[in-house]
Amino acid sequence: MSAGFVVEVEGLSVTFPGAQEVAAVRDLSFSLPEGGALALVGESGSGKSATAFALLGLHRGTGARVEGSLKVAGVDVGAASEAELRALRGAKAAMVFQDPLSSLDPYYAIGDQIAEVLRVHRKVSRRAARARAVEVLDRVGIPDAVRRSRSRPHEFSGGMRQRALIAMALACEPKLLIADEPTTALDVTVQAQILDLLHGLRREEGMGLLLVTHDVGVAAESVDEVLVMREGRAVERGPVAEVLAAPARTYTRTLLEAVPRLDAPLSRQPVAAGDPVLEAVGLRREFRQGRRTVTAVDDVSLTVGRGETLGIVGESGSGKTTLGRMLVGLLEPTSGQLRYGGTEKTSGVQMVFQDPVASLNPRRSIGEAIADPLRAAGERDEKVLRDRVRELLERVGLDPDRYDRYPHEFSGGQRQRVGIARALAPSPKLVVCDEPVSALDVTTQAQVIALLGELQRDLGLSLVFVAHDLAVVRQVSDRIAVMHRGRIVEQGTVAEVYGSPTEPYTKALLAAVPTLDPVLAAVRRAARRELVAA
């Protein structure tokens, strides 16, 4: 091992063969000193994950072509035998994955899974391995580790699972921890806890950390250095504070600018709310799960005025999506009333969905999808239809000539634009956007948000913006409603809710949002610790 580097990468290229060969990583070089922390930051398709996988030789046997020299904890990954590779994996370099639920075997107890990994690398008895499993579970902060080690993954919450996965990584005391989007699937408060844990572990165990993330904020919180990647190449590399504060490259700058910030100046002038286009009173929705009844939304009342944007924030399971669906009439409330500008009929309300892939029928052209509401309204004249759809496509920034194309020919952001066009087609008064940008890269995200704002201004639309990301919501909303366990716990203007939150839950949420300033991040980490301690 040369000069105390745990990772040395020289001229790495990863190419996926296929009808269209994809060069995921091109000529990438970097190194990570022992005990150091590096973040690979990039948007989708930047090759950051392919790089992480290459470090453990996980491309072997998949047909992917890996070139260049790779040294991890002293092992030449390219030349190592299967057995040598296996000895590397888990023991010297361990990986933590994005989705903790699917990354654990659903059929075995957590403790057994950790013990299995341990026994692969160390000649220890089953009993000793189990004991070590409990030890590491305890280490990552799982309460009552002895008992919980006998639980299966589905009996854990998301954060707990991620802790368990980290415990597994710790089991063999590796020199390097590779964390691949470790918090992307988690709620923001949980994300903060996991990042804190990783931070603590790195300091206390002296492990190297390679963090792979799309979220600059997450990187800012956790590492010493960042490597910004784009289309398989390194764009910029440097100490985290430097790169984030004074990016040298345009792309880095664009990326940073696109990241919604809690501390950014408010771009919107609060709109004086017009007549209410939507009034909800005492909405309640129950679901039956087997014999239990779960209340997803509980006694929610809200009003949306003409031209106004109401932001609804909440973590997973807070009931915000259920609420959104009730507002447009996709779900019947169990009780409560909905009035749309004086009538109870669901009309003039449309929705933009979260997943741009799932919200378009893959078997129908986008033009047809957009024309649907018009046809349903009784428009039969093909020419009128076509003209209107072309107009809409143009309005959302798409080439109107792509009327007859199918969804898979569009990128995620473009598809979301199609979704918006479809929602606009019947000239609605109100559009409910359910996490419209959470599936998009930050740069795309910013564009779509901008588009929504523009449309709202031009068309006098009212919007309900449902999202988990506090910064995004802050950016687009006039008023905010914070949801927690089916109820609205706090409601007010952006300035009120973000500036002087009254509810502890709101405070906790805001405290958990990662910041782009590493120094501030450290301060807030300390604050969080205090909050937990308190």
Binding site: L330, L360, P362, P373, P426
Partner: protein, 333 residues
Amino acid sequence: MSEALLAQEVGTAPAAVPASGARQFWRRLRAQRSAVVAASVVAFLVLVALAAPLLTALEGQDPNTFHPSLVDSAAGGVPLGSFGGISAEHWLGVEPQTGRDLFARIVYGARVSLGVAVFATLLQVFLGVVIGLAAGLGNRAVDQVLSRITDVNVAMPLMVIALALLAVVPPEFPRPVLIALVVGLINWAGTSKIVRAQTLALKSLDYVSAARLSGWGKWKIAHREMLPSLAAPVITYAALLVPQNITVEAALSFLGVGIKPPTPSWGQMLTDADVWYQAAPSYLLIPAALLFVTVLALTVLGEGVRTALDPRSQSRLGGVRRGLLSRRKGGAQ
């Protein structure tokens, strides 16, 4: 969990199936050598069945003429000559006892066997789709009723009910049609379960929700948004049903309630031939081998269709890679 098993059988949930146009489907089907071979075999058999009158005219025989002089009456009617009486006039020999031409009976039999299987499958698919859709789209009560009816359908022993039903219907009713009807009527539960499960899955998809917001009615949505997505699993399942139904026809004939003489069918021939395995082995082996080859080819083709429609099972390499790189990103939800 029977639905889960059926899902395993037909592959993926609809949401995961990307837009695979017909062209893409053919490309993926053609990429599999076994499927291409199987498809050729099936095509050949279909051609043979269609061209039966031509082929027999070529041979100069027909399936129903007796040739008492070609069998040894005193020895029970075993064909004279070697290999079951194979000759220039009778390419595959003759049937014991009657002396009818075996080649002619086999090619005509192909018509019945394939026809019945295809028709029965179409019926099963039609009923399954209608009932499954109705159950998936209807309200709780409709779903309950239809699901229970489906359960009843599952619990019906095919052979027994077929025996009973075949006995009830007047003999004037054309048998092949009847058998196809009965098999279709008794055996649609699998399709309807698949369709129901997929419909329920589709119902929760965003693009279906979007269509609802467009203002379309329930059935219009079913027709426009769901049916195309149901095609993949249903076609896959149907491709596996066809060979099954060929076997069912043969089995019904085997139990004595199949196609009525003198109409030949492979099942019928096997039934008649089974006792002759020692005295006239070719009489048994030829239809048995044909049945085997047909069912095998159809099964392989069905597998191929499944693979072509369900890219998830496309290749192991792809599977592993997708496994590695899936869920790269996505909402924090």
